[in-house]
């Protein structure tokens, strides 16, 4: 029987290398500790500075802004004053039908699009990983290529491919008696889902594929000896072993879906009727910002961030618990 691991990274898992660098001479523990702390902070400093200024500070500022309201007087609000209004911006955000509808829309959208994309990514990764795969590198690159295209450009390209009269698909379909407009209101969510699936499947596939590569060779060998091959091997051995990668890609996808913006915004920018300019929550806060409601926009952003946090961490926790029980 040939080894199923011939293409796998050949070396069997080595014993963990001794961490010689961290073993300090027993006589001088304090100075060494100080030195390593300095080293650590030196390495951390660039990240910490960027993280604090680019992430933490804006988030704090948005939270702060969300508790205030600009009061205006006069025809053009010439006299303005900012006052603390507590949660009133949050009340406005939840009272705004367009905003709440966009949250529901994006959640429903994610429930359909994320599973479709991840199942597709898993299938492709398994196919690439299978023993009989040919031209592995070529296919890996091909599947990954859409991700290399900037999202806005990909969306623009798809808008040309989908818009009626220019689309290479609608013409032939109408000859078959199927008259569809992929950018009509009822089709738009599916068209956007298609764009995102096209762009991100390769990315997720690559993460899952890397996880498949790290499955120890002896596990595969043992499975092969037990006569476990093909789909059964994938289902019973590979998929359970790449579960962490699947959880990771799901969390990434949940976050990505919550931040949906580029694709619908490009379609709106291309003046395609039928795409709601308030399709996603972020688009709502952009509109609020445009009309001078930066405090409302801040509140909407905070709401969106909390929802994203709850969904992604909730999913993570649920999986950890399930993993612990198993």
């Amino acid at each position: 029987m040939s080894s199923p691991s011939s293409t796998r990274t050949a070396s069997p898992p080595r014993p963990a290398p001794a961490v010689t660098g961290r073993v300090f001479p027993a006589g001088r523990p304090r100075r060494a500790g100080l030195r390593s702390a300095l080293t650590a902070s030196g390495f951390l400093a660039p990240f910490a500075v960027l993280f604090l200024t680019m992430m933490v500070a804006p988030i704090c500022y948005a939270i702060y802004q969300s508790f205030f309201t600009v009061r205006r007087a006069g025809l053009f609000g010439g006299t303005q004053s900012t006052e603390f209004t507590g949660l009133s911006n949050y009340a406005d955000a939840f009272g705004d039908h367009d905003f709440t509808a966009s949250i529901v829309r994006v959640v429903l959208f994610g429930c359909v699009q994320v599973p479709v994309m991840l199942v597709l990514a898993l299938l492709l990764a398994l196919l690439l990983d299978s023993r009989s795969a040919r031209l592995r590198k070529t296919y890996r690159l091909t599947f990954f290529l859409p991700y290399a295209l900037p999202g806005a450009i990909a969306a623009l390209m798809w808008s040309f491919l989908l818009v009626k009269d220019l689309s290479p698909f609608t013409g032939p379909l109408s000859h078959l008696g199927i008259d569809v407009d992929f950018l009509s209101p009822s089709w738009v969510p599916f068209s956007i889902g298609n764009m995102i699936t096209w762009g991100w499947t390769g990315y997720n596939m690559l993460i899952i594929y890397s996880a498949l590569q790290t499955i120890p060779a002896e596990v595969m060998e043992a499975a092969a000896l037990d006569g476990c091959t093909g789909w059964r091997l994938a289902w019973a051995v590979k998929i359970p072993l790449v579960r962490p990668a699947l959880v990771l890609t799901t969390v990434f996808s949940i976050i990505g879906t919550a931040q949906l913006y580029t694709e619908p915004a490009v379609l709106v920018g291309a003046r395609i009727p039928g795409v709601d300019p308030k399709f996603s929550p972020i688009m709502n806060s952009t509109v609020a910002m445009d009309v001078g409601g930066q405090n409302l926009a801040a509140a909407q952003s905070v709401v969106l961030a909390v929802i994203t946090l709850v969904l992604s961490f909730g999913f993570l926790k649920y999986n950890q618990r399930k993993g612990a029980m198993a």
């Binding site: 030196g42 500075v49 309201t69 007087a73 025809l75 009269d165 709106v268 308030k278």
Partner: protein, 435 residues
């Protein structure tokens, strides 16, 4: 000291240097219009943001004015995100000194405290510009921008296709427009006479032609009147044309769909502002000599009312430390003969009275078969009713119309946006009543 320690020290030093370099870079990105504050010790430097092709004009200014240097930065067009960019930069303390602002957006910029009152610098030069543009750049007796170009609306039509379908002259009224559209549909249902009306800006322009206005003010209070008889008439007229398949359902001028239909000879006309000629010439070079320009059809025969769409002014942005120099530049951009000529070449119809007499406009235009299109634009500009008032929430109205038209009919959209606009103005904290 062992090698690992040396290496880690070196890395630490490197990291520190990187952080410092980053910090210094951030500091050196100073405000560039600060030179003027300390008694003009050096040359004045100003930034100018806009989306029209102003680069060449800025170069001309810089060549002639070595002590007032203007840097032009191209931003996305206002409604496509340019205004947001200006307002965000302003909030962050990095706003430009000058910016291109469309007339209809001036009140919205005022609400955000983004544009400066330039009356005392600009009032003397205002008689150089056509009165409608001056009033569009002002609110009450205060001036908020120097007018650059105006957008008198006209009917662009294909002479060759008119001949083909036996239409002897361009429609003078909207009734004739519909009759011509029916005639074309009977000859070939796949060919459309015109393009649909599909957004808030279009609806506003057509409403202007009826002599109605979406807004009015009384003291410190706004009245919103989007749902008025004029707009209702316009909305049901265009909805009817769309329902009957008389105008192209998908695509209006400038969409790739329009260009494709035009290349196939499947669309005969579109109604738009003079600046649309620039797009026609660059997108449809192959149709040179086939297009003509006619006055915008009217509601009543001979009522002589036209409309305008777009056009913009150069405004001085709040916080600019050299407003006097900024206005000098804005005036140059709008009225210097060479600058105006450069603008016309780029497709702008000038707000400057002298500019409208430029030979480029009064002579025949080969793209339009040698027609003197400047005369048509000028006549249209003179017939634009002066009844319109712009509202304080331009972007919201645009967005809400786009959303509502996507979901329903034009008349339904009018009712919806009336309500949402009153709510939006109220939310801004301004006083507002339902018209």
């Amino acid at each position: 000291m062992d090698r690992t320690t040396i290496r880690s020290r070196r890395l630490l030093a490197l990291a520190t240097a990187a952080v410092m370099a980053f910090g210094v870079a951030a500091c050196s990105d100073d405000k560039n219009d600060s030179a003027g504050e300390s008694g003009h010790s050096g040359p004045v430097k100003m930034e100018f943001w806009g989306w029209a092709g102003y680069e060449k004009i800025v170069d001309q200014w810089n060549a002639a004015h070595p002590d007032i240097k203007v840097t032009f930065k191209k931003i996305p067009s206002g409604p496509a995100g340019g205004y947001t960019q200006i307002n965000n930069a302003l909030a962050a303390g990095n706003g430009p000194c000058l910016a291109q602002i469309e007339y209809q957006n001036i009140p919205s910029m005022l609400v955000k405290n983004s544009v400066m009152d330039i009356t005392r610098y600009a009032s003397d030069g205002m008689d150089k510009y056509v009165p409608s543009a001056v009033s569009a750049s002002s609110v009450g007796d205060k001036i908020y921008g120097v007018p650059v170009d105006i957008g008198p609306m006209v009917l662009f039509y294909r002479k060759d296709l008119f001949d083909k379908y036996g239409i002897s002259k361009p429609p003078a009224t909207w009734a004739e427009y519909k009759a011509d559209a029916e005639k074309v549909k009977t000859a070939d249902p796949a060919v459309k006479f015109g393009t649909k009306l599909g957004d808030g800006a279009g609806l506003a322009s057509f409403t202007l032609q009826t002599g109605q206005s979406w807004y009015s003010t009384q003291g410190d209070s706004w009245t919103v009147n989007i749902d008025n008889p004029g707009t209702r008439k316009v909305a049901s007229y265009w909805q009817d044309l769309k329902d009957q398949g008389l105008v192209a359902k998908h695509g209006s001028a400038w969409d790739p769909q329009f260009n494709k239909a035009s290349e196939a000879g499947k669309v005969l006309t579109f109604v738009s502002a003079s600046w649309a000629a620039g797009g026609l010439k660059s997108d449809l070079k192959g149709e040179a000599g086939k297009w003509r320009v006619a006055p915008m059809p009217t509601w009543e025969a001979g009522d002589n009312k036209s409309a305008s769409s777009g056009g913009s002014a150069t405004s001085v942005i709040t916080g600019c430390r050299t407003p006097r120099e900024a206005v000098q530049f804005a005036d140059f951009l709008s009225s210097d003969p060479q600058a105006v000529k450069t603008g016309i070449e780029g497709g702008l119809y000038p707000a400057s009275k002298a500019g409208q007499d430029d030979p480029l406009l009064t002579g025949g235009d080969p793209f339009f078969g040698g027609q003197k299109v400047g005369d048509v634009y000028r006549a249209s500009a003179a017939r634009v009713p002066s009844t319109w008032t712009n509202g304080p929430t331009f972007q919201q109205v645009e967005t809400d119309f786009t959303g509502a038209i996507g979901k329903g009919t034009l008349p339904e959209a009018v009712t919806k946006v009336q309500t949402s606009t009153v709510a939006a103005i109220k939310k801004l904290g301004l006083s507002v009543t339902n018209g």
